[in-house]
Amino acid sequence: MSENAPSSDAPFDLDKLKQLVEMMENHDLTEIHLRRGDEQWRLRRGPREVIHAAPQYQPQPMAMAAPSPAANAPAAVAAPAAAPAETTGLIDIKSPTVGTFYAAPSPGEPAFVTVGSVVTPETIVCLIEAMKVFNQIPAEVSGTITAILVKSGDAIEFGQPLFRVKP
């Protein structure tokens, strides 16, 4: 989580954020807290497993700033919302195949599930398209969706976490 309170029209310093994130990664740090005047940065980094893309596949800084520079909400997350360490018992629905993720049965239709949806093992949670074949992906767990980790159009590899479920 990163809390930053600059003046509302100062640009959010993404370069600095990138540097800090790299530094954390290179030195295996879990938390950085910087303060200067009323400007404050705190970055916290979760365990590696929470990163849903294999490092080589989609390199992205572990802390992602929200695009809006005027954000006064804690916009950046060092790890997707709930780091497993804090939330034992959450289960990831992982992709059983390789292809392209689609959240809804077809464009314009509502998504199969949203955050808060209750699922059973047979609930279809998404489509993964491969070679023009749209595979319906069942949840295979029971519980409530707490997070959607990918978006429509994303390229998905085998075993990639798609949804987080609270059983």
Partner: protein
């Protein structure tokens, strides 16, 4: 030229292909199973996509997942390496139907040469010697005796439904032939539900000599000389070298030209290897074509100076071969040893584990093709080869001295390897004098 290629393989050959592409400025997508996720060599690729679980049937062999990876990875071509899907006709067809170039021969060429009957026909049409035999099932004892008399003893009685060494027996005269035919038919009926048998001349203690060829998409075919791969254990190659030792120059030329004729007749394209067995009189007989790049290709790269993987990519991209046959040299002597994670003291049982220490030899004329490093965990899921050590010197004697020095320098701890066996072979008189045949390692060296 392709902008992006998917490497549909793992380990040392995947690394080999990634390196070749990087040198050519071609982007790469590597695939991995869950067992290989995070492997160091994957870092050389622009992207690594996990395609399935450790079991190859769900990952490296799963065509739909490989093709999906190619689609989301946005590649124009796939290099299949060796093993896995490299000689799978269906895979080659699926690639083409998805508009992805398959870096290898066409499905049709694979099919023709993969079928024993059509392969033999192609060899006949190309005037390439086959192992003499009955040309079909034996209908009667009289027929068998007549054929044996024609081709000469010893002969091999083979079950038509057999394979992989099963259902074969040797007959050295009429009496053993008659007895053998009866027994073979009974056994074949029991084991394969098919009593059909045929005869072949039994070539005793043959040498395994194979010819590297490459053909472009414009009708040109060249050979890159021969390799001797007689040092085998249970039909697995341990050592390969080029040129074949003690083979008269005239025979070398003949066997290489025979390979080219066969490949031309088969309309085969891209890289491949034509396998022969050579008897004590230096007569050679066609066995089969391996329609892929092979493990031992580095040996040919050293003596010819040609990068075979890069050339495969160029051929697939439509480029003509850049050299005439006369411009392909065979310089010096190159020898490769395969180093396997196996325990020579325990029947070569696989020896998986973490490599806790690794010191690889180097120096003038030494090449190490391997994906492993200190700290690498050799898993139980795939073949046991951890790397290939290749030496190249001006003469075979110098190559042997270099390889002995390298094997002494080599340190691998944490797993067992076949290095001790290799050291024995390189000190063995028959090997040093170039008097190897395919029975040597099992019957002479290991039997001691």
């Amino acid at each position: 030229m392709f902008q992006r290629i998917l490497v549909a393989n793992r380990g040392e050959i995947a690394l080999r292909i990634l390196r070749a592409c990087r040198e050519m400025g071609i982007e790469t997508v590597a695939v991995c199973s869950e067992a290989d996720r995070g492997a160091d060599y994957l870092k050389l690729a622009n992207e690594a996509i996990c395609v399935g679980p450790a079991q190859a049937s769900g990952s490296y062999l799963l065509i739909k997942n490989i093709i999906s990876a190619a689609e989301i990875g946005n590649v124009q071509a796939i290099h299949p390496g060796y093993g896995f899907l490299s000689e799978n006709e269906h895979f080659a067809e699926v690639c083409r139907s998805c508009n992805i170039d398959f870096i290898g021969p066409t499905a049709e060429a694979m099919g023709k040469l993969g079928d024993k009957v059509t392969a033999k026909e192609i060899a006949r049409n190309a005037r390439v010697n086959l192992v003499p035999g009955s040309d079909g099932l034996i209908a009667s004892e009289e027929e068998a005796l007549a054929i044996a008399s024609k081709i000469g003893y010893p002969v091999l009685i083979k079950a038509t439904a057999g394979g992989g060494g099963k259902g074969m027996r040797v007959a050295r005269n009429d009496i053993s032939l008659k007895a053998g035919l009866k027994q073979a038919a009974v056994e074949a009926e029991k084991a394969f539900n098919n009593a059909g048998v045929y005869l072949e001349k039994y070539i005793e203690n043959p040498r395994h000599v194979e010819v590297q060829i490459i053909a472009d998409l414009h009708g040109d075919v060249v050979h890159l000389w021969e390799r001797d791969c007689s040092s085998q254990r249970r039909h697995q190659k341990l050592i390969e070298e080029s040129p074949a030792p003690n083979l008269p120059q005239a025979v070398r030329e003949e066997i290489c030209q025979a390979a080219v004729r066969l490949i031309k007749t088969a309309n085969y394209t891209n890289a491949g290897t034509v396998e022969f067995i050579v008897d004590k009189e230096n007569q050679f007989y066609f066995i089969e074509v391996n329609a892929r790049i092979q493990v031992e290709h580095p040996v040919t790269e050293m003596i010819s100076g040609i990068d075979l993987i890069q050339q495969q990519i160029r051929v697939a991209a439509g480029e003509p071969l850049p050299w005439k046959q006369s411009e392909i040299p065979c310089n010096g002597s190159a020898i490769e040893v395969r180093i396997n994670a196996e325990d020579p003291d325990n029947d070569f049982r696989g020896s998986p584990g973490r490599i806790t220490k690794l010191r690889v030899p180097g120096g003038n004329g030494v090449r190490w093709d391997s994906h492993v490093h200190e700290g690498y965990v050799v898993g139980p899921y795939y073949d046991s080869m951890i790397g290939k050590l290749i030496v190249h010197k001006r003469s075979r004697a110098e190559s042997i001295a270099c390889m002995k020095r390298c094997l002494d320098e080599f340190v691998v701890e944490g797993i067992k390897t076949t290095i001790p066996l290799l050291k024995r072979i390189f000190s063995n008189a028959a090997f040093v004098e170039g008097r190897m045949d395919t029975t040597f390692i099992e019957q002479k060296l290991l039997a001691k």
